[in-house]
Point group: C2
Chain length 270, copies 2
């Protein structure tokens, strides 16, 4: 089911700026029994994005109601997309845009049992991610860089590390990247590029509860290779261990990982 501005539908106007210019934002929500997990993190990122792009405010209750209608009672992923709607041709946005809201559900999702989660095999994407402080952090729909990065994955990879145009390690392709070094849990900043993941924000907020120190810093590739462990986080997989494809390193079972208690807590957080 897809709701477009609250009405079931399948079609968007061909003049929508989301289509013509990538002028939109989205959220990928893990919905359980109609309720999006970590909603307050999604809502905060979305409202920051609306504000930075100059979109009008949205009614939170209306969005939650639409998400619940689409999500139903199954555990599934729901995508919420908000575009600047229609406008005159050209980059100039209309002064008082009427946004387009699209809420679409995916197939019911069998969440893997935490104990059965296996380590992701990580490559290095050979497509750089642009640096732009004005867009950094936002989950906007101008995502062609990520599409190209995803296209660059080689056979056998489950994920790939993205670097920016200056060679700094930024993230995974479909989630945020984490390095563990002792009790430090390091993730690249999202002020110049990358996406401010909701699970990333939750982990930074809660790392101390589990005896870790959350740190935002650019690791260089050698530090990635030398980390005690690597992880990728996103709404679908939570926090998942990862291992470099190039490494010949055994990775302990997830339930033996020092981060496992936090992974379980994130899995169950709402």
């Amino acid at each position: 089911m897809i709701l477009i501005n609250g009405e079931p539908g399948m079609a968007i106007r061909a003049q929508d700026r989301g289509l013509l210019l990538g002028d939109g934002l989205f959220e990928t929500l893990r919905v359980q029994a109609g309720r999006p997990q970590l909603w307050r993190y999604h809502w905060q990122r979305l409202t920051q994005g609306l504000n930075r792009l100059g979109f009008p405010e949205l009614a939170e209750g209306q969005l939650l109601e639409e998400i619940a209608r689409v999500g139903g009672n199954a555990d599934c992923m729901v995508r919420l997309t908000v575009t600047r709607g229609e406008g005159p041709r050209g980059y100039a946005p209309p002064e008082n845009p009427t946004v387009t809201r699209i809420v679409s559900g995916g197939p019911a999702l069998e969440m893997p049992k935490p104990k059965s989660i296996r380590s992701l095999t990580l490559g290095w994407a050979d497509v750089p991610i642009g640096i732009n402080p004005a867009l950094a952090g936002l989950k906007h729909t101008s995502r062609l860089e990520h599409v190209l990065a995803r296209r660059s994955w080689r056979s056998g990879w489950d994920e790939a590390i993205l670097c920016d145009a200056l060679g700094r390690v930024v993230s995974a392709t479909q989630g945020n990247l984490w390095l563990r070094r002792g009790q430090k849990l390091i993730t690249p900043p999202v002020r110049e590029s990358g996406i401010a993941g909701t699970r990333r924000a939750w982990v930074l907020d809660h790392a101390a509860d589990f005896g870790f120190e959350g740190v935002e810093a650019y690791p260089d590739p050698a530090e990635v290779r030398g980390a005690d462990a690597l992880y990728v986080s996103n709404a679908r997989i939570g926090m998942t261990p990862a291992n470099l494809a190039e490494a010949d390193k055994a990775v302990p079972a997830w339930q033996d990982d020092p981060l496992y208690p936090m992974g379980i807590a994130l899995h169950e957080a709402d």
Copy 2:
């Protein structure tokens, strides 16, 4: 009139990757009596883009026929948009995409008489443009950076200069930027960011015919300020003189500008 995959229509499927991810390309064509001006430049850029993004080839004759149907006999701007079509959710593109072609016309265009063209007032956009060699040059639909740059224009500006994240002058917001210094006609490269404009390509190809040397180089802001003259080029305005909003410099009438003969030739080129 809008043609979607050759059929008159107004609606795009809500799962189109052009809408969800900015996964598309476009061309803005000045069409005269059904024929796009400088089509071979547009077609070359489009086919390069299709190739770099991994889209299937398009039939040139079919596109030209659709452009003619939409353009009719008036002088108007036509936008051709090509997206990767529908696919499974997520960044991963489908292996064999079926692209969506959208050809849409604008209102008939009264082209200004070359002699009546007045100088554009140029500001400096305060939003940087990301650096990404994989996307540089392409006229793709992930254009949120340009939307933000356009939004940053101040009152009284007709255009604004964009710089990249390293502070290098890249282009105007809606066209390419040119500096004249003696017989040199300088425009920034488009290998790391920016769009390879069709008029830009034509000018580089033809500058020597008019006694100028076309040069691709990054000017620093001081060189922009110290240039003998500035110009902006795009499909709608051709090559148009420009003047910095901050400058207190008289700009000669266009017909007294050394570039006027080339401007006229570009205006009439096909």
